[in-house]
Symmetry: C2
Subunit: 126 residues, 2 copies
DNA sequence: TCGAACCCTCACATTGATGTGAGGGTCAAG
DNA sequence: CTTGACCCTCACATCAATGTGAGGGTTCGA
């Protein structure tokens, strides 16, 4: 598929798909006329990227993380330098922190909403 | 305490504490000379703010969420407009999405690191 | 052959969270 | 009184993610 279709399928502006490529997050083949071509796997990858960006990770870190996500046998670690492993460990821990923070706050918001809804339910039938 | 101490206790530059105030995330009393004064509760609140910012939430949303976090009896909902409740529900769901995304990716990174560490452990004693 | 709908590469603008520093008060200790 | 360590308010700078559009090719069907 070309960039327009990938854009539609992922809900991501073309501009950003080119930006992600520039940042080394995705790769695209080129047609003889210069058009980018993508295969289906890029759809999931772009979704991953968007999710991680939305969760506060910068592209620089996402770039490190993405190679870990190739489920079908990970053959991608012989090139892992010790400093890169340290980065990954740090990021793993930071992600855990984020999860904790988000969970705590999400639960608080949810509880708040539950209480409010109770109040409203108790008030309206009166 | 004054801004310097709050800055130290939270590891947050003074500049940002003023910024958070400007965005309506925290409030500060003032001494007669204009200095900001904070009480201990602000330490936790600033930590919350930093955590949420780091998790990708904009100050505008954090501002909506913070009132939900006052555990000691929430007396703060009579002013809840329906549109604000909708915002909160949306945010709650987005936070859930973020948590899912982060968890999935964190687990993948963790698994990757485990595998790499196994490989290294198997290689070094040889 | 013409127009619509694609695609390309710049390149400048914006927004939100920050950094940095100038210019200037306050206040306690020497 | 002066110095150092605080504090204040601007205001401009930066960085990453994103918006916008100019200027220009390609392709395909009417």
């Amino acid at each position: 598929m070309r960039i327009g279709e990938l854009s539609e399928r992922t809900g991501t502006p073309r501009r950003l798909l080119r930006y992600y490529e520039e940042q080394g997050l995705i790769v695209a083949d080129r047609l003889p006329n210069g058009y980018r071509v993508y295969d289906a796997s890029n759809v999931d990858r772009v979704m991953q990227i968007r999710g991680l960006l939305d969760a506060g990770l910068p592209t620089r870190i996402i770039k490190q993380i993405l190679p870990c996500l190739n489920k079908p046998r990970m053959i991608h670690f012989p090139d892992a330098t010790p400093e890169m492993l340290e980065t990954l460990e740090n990021e793993r821990d930071r992600m855990t922190d984020r999860i904790r923070c988000l969970t705590r706050n999400r639960d608080a918001v949810a509880e708040y909403l539950d209480v409010v809804r109770e109040k409203l339910a108790a008030g309206s039938p009166a």
